[in-house]
Symmetry: C3
Subunit: 139 residues, 3 copies
């Protein structure tokens, strides 16, 4: 069994963003030389997500509005977590809805995903360096 | 290390449904001849889910009502995504709550799941052919 | 390829709790003697979660309040599932938001997690024995 590890780094110049990371994950897979196995792609931070969905800007705006409705940022005083000096409690909730990680099958050296599946980094508390782990195991 | 891949196909004659796929996943596991490892079961479409929960019809109706409350289908004009000609923006949200995938342990040739755990395909935008990927790795 | 399996057991003396299980998962990893691979950590019950987030008590109280808002326990009569004699339909919903499982990379014999990532067992229907499965595969 082979294994391969790579970090992808991000510094989002805003509080929230969705970034398509399908290409860097494919690049990591090429570097891994693994042809059959599983790839784990996970946020290493607890106010960020990795998820798979559509690369359609209107949908991304819908997601942002929807997450804001389910877990509003303001008033920040509504969250006990923010008494620690943070203002990001809502980001911990948005991340739970969108998820920490995806696991993707590797088949014949490719990401084995459907025609519209794209992998995204979801940032909910940006303005600083954060990373995603790509771990591939297989043969 | 061995690996095995199988697609399960669905064509739901309605917009939404939950289908118990535990048996076909077990069948794929038998075909794989893998006795120790991990099985990834994921929707290959972005308006569908694979999740694990109870096979109880009342609960499934509760889930449908609850998901409709959290991410209503109508009015479809509330979602920018639907300006692309789709009417399925809500399905992209429902799928995020229920999840894209499950990873299940394989132990002594069986799905290593709890007594009430059953694997479901969750369709949120049916009336067409869609598929689930089963990928098993191990020995 | 090696594989390793361990169950962690819980009996929460209340309906709901979040329990940090990072140390017992690390202990299982030491016992597995696996240095490179993937660890699956999943609830074996359908009214409980395994998730990764912050070990901050204020945030945990925020999560409880937020989950109660998204999927209220009372009135229990609002859920068809509860006509089966249960009163835990809300727990099946809370668990979907927080998730069934996490998959964690194993690198050089350690959990390959970010500085604030901690693994939690989330109980939403306690007062009885329930378990978490840790399955590690790799080399």
């Amino acid at each position: 069994m082979k294994s391969f590890r790579k970090e992808l780094w991000f510094n989002v110049p805003g509080r929230r963003a969705f970034i398509n990371i399908t290409s860097p994950v494919e690049q990591a897979l090429v570097e891994s030389k693994i042809r059959e196995g599983l790839a784990l792609v996970n946020a290493m931070h607890i106010t960020a997500s990795v998820f798979i969905n559509d690369d359609e800007p209107g949908l991304h705006r819908d997601y942002q509005r929807w997450l804001e409705k389910l877990a509003p940022h303001a008033p920040t005083s509504q969250y006990q977590h923010n008494r620690t000096g943070e203002d990001n409690a809502d980001a911990h909730m948005k991340r739970q809805i969108m998820g920490r990680e995806v696991v993707v099958a590797i088949t014949r050296g490719k990401l084995d995903i459907g025609p519209w599946e794209q992998i995204f980094y979801g940032e909910f508390d940006g303005y600083r360096n954060k990373r995603v782990l790509v771990k591939v195991i297989g043969e």
